[in-house]
């Protein structure tokens, strides 16, 4: 007969973690500051964290990005620490772009695929040193990364909870950092990163962001998170710094033409319906593919799909007549043939145009770009106003701001 063996006590940390069920949505390391500023109290679930849709007014928060600078908590983003003598080779196998060309102190936007060449996620790869990387993404990938590490001398560790992240975006972002005393930050060109002292630790600052604007991202150990926040808010006061929520950021990213996993495309490991998966070429990430580089996951399938013309979709930017946002509208050719779907849409305050990102079935959006229409159902006081509007395929980004790349950055 079985008896409860009291000698085999579960280890204490495992037991201590039992109580998680009492807090279904975690706070981030910045939660006390967010809570204090959250006038709207409008929260959503971002990867298990309580994150703000808005803090004090989503429209005004958007203008904070474009006119002054905005502070956005990116701590819930999934973060992996990748370290070891084979770290470069490992990253080069997992991700699409050539990591051997990514120098220490640089960041690039990349994506990674399963064996069938379907996109598992996109994200940013930070090269912190010759042998150390940080990979940031929307979804979780620990099993995939661990299994990909077989045969490499590399350690992969998730560090989402222990590393806090902030995005500081907008025209006065640099002025804020300078005022906060981060000496030398003006040297950072777009996609550069460097470490700076903060209190008794360091903060990694990169000139990156998700807004198409001048901006930076800051990563720091969670213990120093609040003091970093305070340092920025204090220094930025005269530069109009404001904390913002996701809705404003989402608008900025759409103007910048950037895509979001599981909003503009379905990630391969989450697709219940297998025909929802997408290859890089089908979501505008074909530029990342480098057939000349060493083996990368999905290479065979991606090149075969190109060679055999098996690609079925294309992701495009649309400019739509009128000013009614076309979110989730169906795209038609000649007003009758259904050829795709709008995944994100808005009236762009910066471009003064009605913009959208859409996924179209080839050849539409590629060789056939004329006579495209979107059918907008606008719910107005419990009635759908149905509009059929002409759509034009346009290049992304929808807005291009010189200040994003200006070096040295403008200081005002």
């Amino acid at each position: 007969m079985m008896t409860v063996a009291t000698t085999m006590a579960a280890d204490d940390s495992r037991r201590a973690a039992q109580s998680h069920f009492r807090t279904l949505r975690l706070g981030t390391p910045f939660q006390p500051r967010l809570d204090a500023l959250a006038k709207t109290g409008d929260w959503y679930n971002w990867a298990g964290y309580r994150a703000p849709h808005s803090l004090w007014g989503e429209e005004l928060e958007y203008f904070a990005i474009r006119s002054q600078c905005a502070l956005f908590d990116i701590s819930p983003m999934t973060k992996y620490r990748i370290e070891g003598s084979d770290a470069e080779a490992f990253c080069n196998k997992v991700t699409l772009r050539d990591v051997t060309k990514l120098k220490p102190g640089r960041v690039h936007y990349t994506a990674w695929c399963d064996d069938e060449g379907f996109v598992l996620d996109d994200g940013t790869l930070f090269r912190l040193s010759a042998t150390r990387f940080r990979l940031c993404s929307q979804e979780r990938h620990l099993p995939w990364l661990l299994d990909s590490a077989i045969g490499f001398d590399v350690a992969v560790e998730e560090e989402t909870e222990s590393i806090a992240g902030l995005a500081l975006q907008g025209p006065t972002a640099f002025a804020c950092l300078r005022a906060a005393g981060f000496a030398g930050v003006e040297k950072l060109k777009v996609f550069d990163l460097a470490e700076f002292p903060h209190e008794n630790g360091t903060v990694t600052i990169s000139r990156t962001g998700f807004t198409g604007d001048l901006g930076y991202e800051l990563f720091i150990g969670r213990d120093l998170a609040l003091s970093l926040w305070d340092r920025l808010m204090e220094a930025g006061e005269l530069h109009g710094i404001r904390a913002i929520g996701y809705t404003a950021l989402n608008r900025a990213r759409l103007e910048a033409g950037l895509i979001v996993a599981n909003a503009d495309f379905v990630t391969a490991e989450h697709a219940i319906r297998s025909n929802r998966t997408r290859m890089p070429d089908e979501i505008g990430l074909g530029f990342m593919i480098d057939p000349a580089k060493a083996h990368f996951n999905g290479r065979r399938a991606i090149l075969e799909a190109r060679a055999r013309k098996k690609l079925r979709h294309v992701l495009v930017g649309l400019e739509i007549d009128g000013n009614v946002p076309a979110e989730h509208a169906i795209v038609y050719h000649r007003k009758n043939r259904e050829v795709g779907l709008v995944s994100a849409a808005m009236w762009s305050p910066m471009a003064k145009r009605n913009i959208a990102i859409a996924s179209l079935d080839l050849p539409y959006g590629d060789s056939v770009t004329d006579d495209l229409w979107v059918e907008i159902y606008a719910m107005c006081e419990l009635k759908y106003e149905r509009l059929m509007k002409r759509a034009k395929v346009v290049p992304r980004p929808f807005i291009k701001l010189d200040r994003r790349t200006a070096s040295p950055p403008a200081d005002f």
Partner: protein, 539 residues
């Protein structure tokens, strides 16, 4: 003397579903039930004052929502409450919880393995893909691959096309699901034993297989295909116990004009010139019907209720070869207070769900080894629930009903019949396992009902006490269920049909066999079936 349009033998849930559909199609239907109550293995009985038990089946998920809607069961009192979670208590004094909230679920698994916590998403995706593939088959009659009839060919083509529509990876996955053991299958995803034990449960419940037996991955799907109000894979309690399901069915049946006769055990099916003409009751009463539908299992129906000479040899051989070995027992316990489980926090939602104490696949498999040797498991697998944590109708406030499903229990003990002493010893393995995790448990017990396969067969009439009316292995699924050539609810005797869980798609309180049988009967009668909803879309 009255001739009924249809006589349904057995008032289990499938018999009642079948009767409801036939009655609603305008037939004059009689249900004859040997017990003094209806319900079969879906009953709630008060065996000790103040406590209602779900005596046999104890949770609801598989029951098809199309049937609930067609037969207006909510109007007749059926309500299903999804439960909140569950846990496997481990020998080291910890537990692995299951939570409805996705993030809580992940964090809980991460206590044991960060990798497993994340692998869960891929696992869930793969299982969901398979359920979506198989679910539409539940409410369809399986084709006969040996037939050239247009309908069978069409149905085969449908199956073929469904399969051809899958991607090669999905096809490979489908084949894995049909042939692998749940243990091997889980090894491809998870690394932590208690997590594998946790998911193995659905692969073995009701089967005469262990988690290491090939075929159990499919059984897991069988248990995942249900839903509670659109929440696919969720399980719940029927408010008022599982008897509430059959009570609602009986009320729906009677409201549409049907007749139920309880305390009427059928001894024989009346057969004249190869055609079923009615039934003979134990007392000798003859009841005539234009057709007879048997809710009893295929062995009981054809080896006990029908004369051997009426049936073709090949059919009889196959019926005799039908595997229906019982593997489970049930212990229902009335408690005068909520048991304590020191491992679980008092406010844990896992208490309002299913509790288990076998924390490794090996322990579950060893429990099965006992069964193979003809013994009940010394260290059994238990599926324990306390429905009264969510259902106030089954016991007074503060009092509780605990349902313990026990595996494995053989139909015969080392080749001989169960004795009362065996039964008590069997119950003791259950109580002592729970007491190991719940101090003072014995003192809370007010009353206990113990069901070994012997009791299940004697009362419910399930041959060998098999709760699925026949094992769920590939040789007894789809067009092979219950036997090849007769997988379309008909029998070699004209006018005699089957509607129990012995038929496709099998066991569990699902109602699909009863409904599908009604569809076939109405087709034979050339009666319209527009009161019967098509299977809900899987989009």
């Amino acid at each position: 003397m009255k001739t009924w349009d249809a006589i349904v033998i057995g008032g289990g849930h499938n018999g009642l579903v079948n009767a409801c559909y036939l009655q609603r199609a305008g037939l004059d239907v009689l249900v004859v039930e040997k017990n003094d109550w209806v319900g079969g293995a879906a009953t709630s009985r008060e065996l000790t004052p103040g406590f209602l038990y779900s005596n046999c089946s104890y949770v609801c998920s598989l029951f098809r929502p199309e049937i609930m809607r067609d037969l207006e069961l909510p109007r007749f009192g059926l309500q299903v409450i999804a439960y909140e979670g569950g846990a496997v208590l481990t020998r080291d004094g910890d537990y692995l919880g299951n939570y409805r909230d996705h993030d809580a679920h992940r964090r809980e698994f991460a206590r044991f393995s960060k990798r497993d916590a994340e692998v869960y998403d891929r696992y869930a995706r793969d299982v969901t893909r398979q359920c979506r593939f198989i679910q539409p088959l539940l409410m369809r009659t399986a084709p006969d691959p040996a037939s050239w009839k247009p309908r069978d060919l069409g149905e085969l083509l449908y199956l073929g096309k469904k399969f051809a529509d899958l991607t090669p990876e999905e096809m490979a996955l489908t084949l894995r699901f049909w042939t692998m053991s749940i243990s091997d299958f889980l090894d491809e995803y998870f690394e932590t034993d208690v997590i594998k034990a946790n998911f193995s449960i659905s692969g073995i419940i009701g089967t005469a297989l262990g988690p290491m037996s090939p075929g159990t991955a499919y059984v897991l799907l069988h248990h995942y295909m249900g839903e509670v109000d659109g929440s696919v894979g969720a399980w719940g309690y029927a408010r008022g116990g599982m008897g509430a399901v059959t009570k609602a069915l009986a009320a729906s049946f009677q409201a549409s004009g049907g007749t139920i006769r309880t305390g009427a055990e059928v001894e024989k099916v009346l057969v004249k010139r190869g055609k079923a003409k009615g039934v003979v009751l134990a007392g000798g009463d003859e009841i005539f019907g234009k057709l007879v539908v048997s809710n009893a299992d295929v062995k009981r129906t054809f080896l006990k209720l029908v004369e051997e000479k009426e049936l073709p040899d090949t059919f009889l051989r196959r019926v005799r070869n039908f595997k229906i070995r019982g593997s489970s027992g049930k212990v229902n316990i009335a408690l005068d207070s909520m048991p304590e489980f020191p491992a679980l926090p008092k406010d844990s939602p896992c208490l309002r769900g299913d509790l288990h104490f076998t924390d490794s696949v090996e322990r579950m498999e060893r429990a099965y080894d006992d069964w193979k040797a003809g013994r009940w498991s010394a260290d059994p697998f238990l599926d324990v629930m306390i429905p009264t944590t969510l259902d106030p109708t089954m016991a007074a406030p503060g009092k509780h009903f605990m349902s313990c499903f026990v595996q494995y229990a053989p139909p015969k003990v080392e080749g001989r019949d169960w004795t009362d002493a065996d039964r008590d010893a069997f119950a003791e393995t259950v109580v002592s396992q729970i007491a190991d995790y719940s101090p003072g448990f014995r003192d809370r017990i007010v009353h206990m009902e113990v069901r070994t396969p012997r009791e299940i067969e004697a009362e419910v009439g399930l041959t060998e006490g098999n709760i699925f009316q026949g094992e769920l292995t590939f040789d007894q699924l789809l067009f092979n269920r219950p036997v090849p050539g007769y997988a379309q609810y008909r029998s070699p005797l004209s006018g005699l049909y089957m509607c129990g869980s012995s038929t496709h798609p099998g066991g569990g309180v699902m109602g699909a066999p009863g409904r599908n049988a009604a569809a076939e009967i109405l087709r034979d009668l050339a009666r319209p079936d527009h009161h019967m909803s098509a299977a809900h879309d899987v989009i």
